[in-house]
Symmetry: C3
Subunit: 665 residues, 3 copies
């Protein structure tokens, strides 16, 4: 979604404040150039302290005060944390999961299929919208927050699942066959006998249940959006705060939600991106998370949450907060909003610190935010609504992610690890990538398409990949791709299914490499280490770009490359170290005519086109040292200093500093 | 059991096939020299898709087709995995364990004491036998599969346990005394008040419950065998697929079953042996597992399952599959049967690969199987029904294993670790060992008897050990032996109980060694490391073969040796490194007149007598390198090459290769 | 409590004996100089084998026999382990905890708020007292044993908690505000809707529940003491066996009990101290545990349990048992009692060995006990009732301990780690410390007061600390002190709350140090490592004793020191290595005029005044080597050898040996 300004602000919770100080807060925000707050998404019990008694005084107070200080507001529906009275009233409203029934206290633990939950959600949303929608300064609404299925396995949910299966498989025999339920006597020949899904040892069935759970989220979003739209005024938008695989930071695509489907009912994608800081700040999560968010609507997105002081050990060094803010914008974000304005004085997130510390006073972090706010006000028009355009796309797939969880390589390498292995390799060499869904039809927009670990793929997807190569695309596909169908039934013919002619090779055996290295052009038998997984590729028409250095596996190929139709396919049959992967990727980029960058990490380059159709180039120094690089773009103006920058000149960046050049091309 | 051929084949499950291809499969088997399949043991839901509706079409199809291709069949009762409808009908049919109630999906999770389970078992077995028993090519039946008590702790099972205790202890006071229940106020003075066994902190009681659980398995086998024998034809046999302590491979004796008792109702012992492969292939599990299986009936056994491609990371190098096959036969197996013919396309064992990969085509593994099959057909008559005869026996004990679990040394050294510490030491020096039960009466067959970690022993067993030494046997006993009675009550007198005069030493204190080494003949104060456990032995009549190198424990002995009666006893009071243990074992072997081998691991030697009463010697190269050794047997014929081999000549073995010499003596 | 002799003995359980041998045992005790046994605390089921049937024959037998051998007896109420019949009768008598319902078998698993439990406790106690109290040789009674709340979360207990909250917060709105329950929609606006505490994500609420649980223990002790006092004769005392944070040894203050409160109803504090032995014996736990026990009543205490052979790996070297015994006495203990006399032959503590091993005969440990007993008899009058007087006090706080558990620094550093970091640093430099409660009013007794990790402190405590400094005290306070109030609500102003003027500095940001060292006088940028936690101190009036060596944090202080009023305050803002901490502590000791010792660990010095008001100095060699040191006390008599020792002379101590000098001053 395009916006008429860069939004800069924070989540704000008057409800949590130890004492009344709203004017002070908003005054401080305004001084810092903050122009938006996001409120309300977890305060149901404040607004409805008892069943049917409503009290929106906090909400009204915040909306009024924000109005007074000229601050825009995004209002969240409060449905992701339910009040205690609701649980007393409907004890079974809490989710029953693989680990047993949830217990009250935590957010995000209710059964979103429960009719009473839906009833109370609808009522509180309608009441809230009556209050909030009319406000001029309310620019949009956030549905719920980081919605998940919360692993609901209630009897209710499981019955819905059986109905879902019945509809998909009118013939129960076909169902048994497709899922291979004869194995270990698991057949279900009467839907009434369907066993508790939580005990299944059939990964196909388990994966299907997880697909069903993801659908519950999509449906829930669509349902809330419908209610919101009954009240919204012209110009107000719907968004959602999408998150990522969580490893105490935002690591990979979200396993529990199909965000492409879920985002369909929204106007603009929102997200929260958290990452390491201090010496571990690399910007990779900002770029990766941004690429996901941009992909959801193929458009600019909102960063609804990101860290200020953040989690313990993430206190930004001087310059880092500003570096991060511009990095988001450079990826196509139209907002930078901190979670959250003030640090909290009770409960589980007390040490997840906001802009202000617990003393609620100006501090180092606030002072840096002030700089950002002032700069955004000055140059925002040149860097907002950035149009991103990439030569390379990386395909992502929820089903394949689940495939890896059901059939892991090992404890240390899941789907997102492989995705990030690919993505980060491009990141470090300053090749920006788009992400595309595994149902994407317009693949030929991209010169190079990388398909990592597409374990689960149906014939349609495989057909599109074949078509891509046939029509001139350059495909890179990794090990464990096209191994199973959408139900995780392993294809009973040559691997990778449906593509052996395209890649010019096949395999039926694979093993765990121990002391295996790569041989071949650009590889080193000492350093090019194969780890985790290796397929014993038997090249047919394809040529071996690498083979295995090992006494008993040496006749097999590790990487094969094959010209097919008007394009080429490169199949990477094993996991390898970063340099070796880089070697393969670079070869394909060259073939595909994608021009590389001479400047690499820790200087990160991001590019896009602004509203004036000028090309904007960002240079970020992700290091504690001063760095020098040669500016290789067209002559242009550095937006912050307003100095001219000429092509081919040496540029200097201070630690954690940046520059932004606007040029005609 | 003696067989009239070597059996070579695989488990086969038509039920799991993604499409109809039975003729193709059996044709391929026949071409590979396979002559047996094992079927049916986990397909109850296919045969009885709904309660009382039977469909044996898959079974009939397999039996007919096998007949057509001249393939023998072992048919398993399908009772180790119950259908979903049974759980809907009798929700309490699933086992309630120490971890709570089981949930449907997994195999081996029912309460084998449940009357409904027994009813349905009996019905399906009778129906199956009516179909299968008449077939000429059905050579035998397998009861259930890897049966266990599945930790049943249901109210029903616990009531049976109280009855069992009542019968054993008519006087409840004696029961309290024997189990020491005064401790922590645990007395039970009315059987009605017997508490849930799962909470007990009394290891004696817990161990007794586990003994009771093992008895449930023995009873279950006997019951199934009774039914089977009503239908079996002359010449058909009963077997069972016994397994081992599972550490993702077959490590030690099975803790949950007393296999000696359980095997009594059977005609031939069967087993499944799985082990590491590739660089980690040593053959030790094949030898150890084979020794267990041979011991159960003191006769040849069947390898009903072993790996083809196996688990991830076990893909055999060229030659390994063949090396393994002959290793089984050399230990006294009369069959090598893979689990399984084809890799599965759904569910939990999809990556436990069979002979064929998922593409179901000829591959490297199949091609090696073909070689084995052809060789077996050619030389099988000379290597089947091998009679094993060992000078050394190692005593095993379920009760002592449980003793170690109840009172562990530490997390890394359980009973089986100590058993394998002893067994593998002999294995590496090419001394073949028999295993004997702790109730074995004919100990004097063996020149040397090793008793590792016999923590729990009753007076009868101790009497037999005393008698063994008195009558000329050479006993080696390790630390923590004869410490407690069968109920794990620690003997309240000098340790080791009842044997202090035999070993000529005693102790009452022990500790955990830190930086302790051994002093004595053949030990090195630098290298001979004591670890895990050390007893402070006070020698009486016995002489110290080793003492402790430690400032504060130096006056105590670590190993004592004593001539007693016509024999000798050697007591090893601590855990020590492999070389030190080897030093002790070799001294005793020498005393006992057991001749050692000059060739040691990685060349493994196995010997036996064939049907012609000729001596057959196998030489296996368990290494990736070519090895040379001197053949020290009598002049004979190498069976595979049909060349003559003379005593004292140098022989060369290629990586993972073998030779077999048949000689008159 | 003062005693008229040193008590030396053991716990004794006739109930657990494998056969009758009481005369033998007591004869052996008498020969070893043992004069006390402790009996009965876990044998309820023996005395009341069925509901209402009592049998005190074991008790009577022990009391009579002890009388015969002149042995005093401490009798425990048997209430910490309930009989099996009680659970059958009242299944809900077992505690329901955060991990779910307890199961019978273990001790210490009942709900101490259950009325039936109280009823049966009272009945058995009264019956027991009728038997035991009249005995002349019964010197005292122990309430229960190591009492805890056993994490009771039963509905009953939780209702009591709501009542407790209601009383504390008559205004439910204030309750919500103080605990910050608006957060994540956790408000409770009707006490009837109070959710199950076990699910809370509000650490303030969780901490309050734990405070409530500690109060249950205090109330329980008071209740039992009331019953006991109805029966006790003049001169008999009440004690309790207090224990410590358990890390398989006695590590820190007990988290689940406020021992200061609980000890109020008692006459003398008792404790059990367990620690590593052999090479790991340092004496630190004896000193620390003793300091806690001494603090509870500010008087001499009883060591009711300590190890003889103890846990596996703790077998004392020759001399260690004696070294330990005197170490206890040197800390102010009036007894050394082993747990336990004989090793047990069944159940969970079979390997926690007593004085005698399982063979129940004289052994090395018994022989060393004999030496101790004889020496105690000889010199006991000079070392009992030792008055301890320390210049340094260390403040301890259950609430702060819980604060650390609720908001941990990381997995490896909890409250007790920091407490021991401080305590042990003093221990190694031979500065004896008193421990004081965080509600202690007489702080000015001490020259130096150390306040480690006082995370949770109310205004009263803070006022007392301010007052201490103002009036001349030297305060050392560590990081994370005064951060939150008693309800763990973080103070919303400058940190450390209420003391920024006293320490002359403040901070609002902190982070996790990586590669951070200290700069400053006495620190080394190579070695002075900052770890776990660092606060970014901004010095005001205070001076920086240390700053951070780090490119981005170098402007902040790590340690600040400030003269305030008549005293000084030193604030340690980070965790640092031992040497660096020692450097800070020594500086303050010097300022405060506390004289240091030239002799340090492994020679440990303890001092006190005996009944003759003479000063007794103990010198312990906690090492396997002979050590030499210079005696710096006044001329006096070594009590064991009766030799004179002159000030300034060199003294020699054998491994694990000791000397005791009595002097006039």
């Amino acid at each position: 979604m395009k916006t008429n300004k860069l939004y800069f602000g924070a989540a704000y919770y008057d409800e949590y404040m130890p004492y009344e100080r709203m004017d002070t807060d908003m005054q401080m925000m305004r001084e810092a150039g903050m122009n938006v707050i996001r409120i309300a998404e977890s305060t149901w019990s404040t607004w409805e302290p008892e069943n049917g008694r409503f009290d929106f005084s906090h909400l009204v107070h915040m909306l009024d005060c924000a109005k007074k200080y000229g601050i825009s507001v995004i209002v969240g529906t409060p449905t992701y944390a339910i009040p205690s009275w609701m649980v007393k009233e409907y004890p079974d409203i809490l989710s029953v999961t693989h680990s047993g029934p949830c217990i009250y206290g935590h957010r995000q633990n209710m059964d979103i299929t429960h009719p009473a939950y839906r009833f109370h959600c609808e009522r509180i949303i309608r009441k809230m919208m009556e209050v909030a929608a009319p406000y001029e300064n309310v620019i949009g609404f956030q549905i719920d927050n980081e919605t998940k299925p919360y692993d609901t396995c209630s009897e209710r949910a499981q019955k819905l699942f059986v109905s879902y299966l019945k509809e998909k498989f009118p013939d129960i025999g076909e169902f048994n066959h497709e899922f291979g339920l004869d194995y270990w006597s698991n057949r279900v020949d009467d839907w009434e006998n369907f066993p508790d899904i939580r005990g299944t040892i059939n990964q196909s069935l388990d994966a299907e249940y997880r697909k069903f759970q993801r659908k519950l989220v999509t449906d829930f979003h669509k349902w809330q959006a419908g209610i919101l739209r009954e009240y919204m005024r012209e110009g107000q938008f719907i968004t959602h705060n999408f998150d990522y695989e969580w490893r105490n930071f935002s690591f990979g695509i979200q396993p529990e939600v199909n965000q492409f489907d879920a985002a369909e009912c929204m106007d603009v994608a929102g997200c929260d991106i958290y990452h390491h800081s201090e010496d571990e700040l690399t910007g990779a999560e900002i770029a990766f998370g941004g690429a996901v968010a941009y992909a959801l609507k193929k458009d600019n997105y909102l960063v609804l949450e990101t860290e200020a002081q953040g989690s313990f050990g993430w206190l930004p060094y001087q310059g880092q907060l500003r570096l991060q803010a511009y990095s988001h914008i450079a990826c196509g974000a139209n907002s930078v909003m901190y979670w959250h304005w003030h640090s909290i004085h009770n409960a589980i997130e007390s040490y997840w610190k906001g802009v202000l510390s617990h003393n609620l006073k100006e501090n180092a972090t606030y002072r840096e935010a002030k700089i950002i706010g002032q700069e955004f006000a000055r140059i925002g028009g040149h860097i907002r609504n950035l149009r991103k355009q990439c030569d390379v796309a990386v395909m992502v797939s929820n089903d394949s992610l689940v495939g890896f969880e059901e059939f892991p390589v090992d404890d240390t390498l899941n789907y997102n690890d492989i995705l990030r292995w690919i993505y980060d390799s491009f990141y470090r060499m300053n090749i920006e990538c788009s992400l595309v869904n595994d149902r994407e039809e317009n693949l030929l927009e991209y010169k190079v398409l990388v398909v990592p670990a597409l374990y689960s793929a149906d014939e349609e997807t495989i057909g599109r990949l074949r078509n891509y190569v046939e029509h001139g695309g350059h495909l890179i596909m990794t090990y464990r791709s096209l191994f199973a169908d959408r139900q995780l039934k392993i294809y009973p013919d040559d691997q990778p299914h449906g593509m052996t002619d395209v890649i010019g090779a096949t395999y039926d055996q694979f093993t765990c490499p121990k002391n295996v290295h790569l041989c071949g052009d650009g590889f080193s038998e000492e350093k090019s280490l194969v780890s985790h997984w290796m397929e014993l590729l038997i090249p047919g028409e394809g040529s071996a770009w690498a083979t295995y250095s090992h006494p008993f596996w040496k006749e097999y190929a590790a990487v094969v490359h094959h010209a097919f139709g008007k394009g080429t396919a490169t199949y990477i049959g094993c996991h390898m170290d970063e340099d070796s992967l880089g070697n393969v990727l670079k070869k394909v980029l060259e073939l595909a005519g994608v021009s590389g960058k001479n400047t690499v990490f820790p200087v990160i380059i991001k590019e896009g086109f602004n509203e004036y159709e000028k090309k904007v180039r960002f240079y970020f120094n992700y290091s504690p040292d001063e760095v020098e690089f040669v500016y290789e773009g067209a002559d242009g103006k550095e937006l912050l200093s307003e100095k001219l920058v000429e092509k081919g000149t040496k540029q200097l960046l201070k630690p954690w500093d940046l520059m932004i050049v606007e040029a005609d091309c």
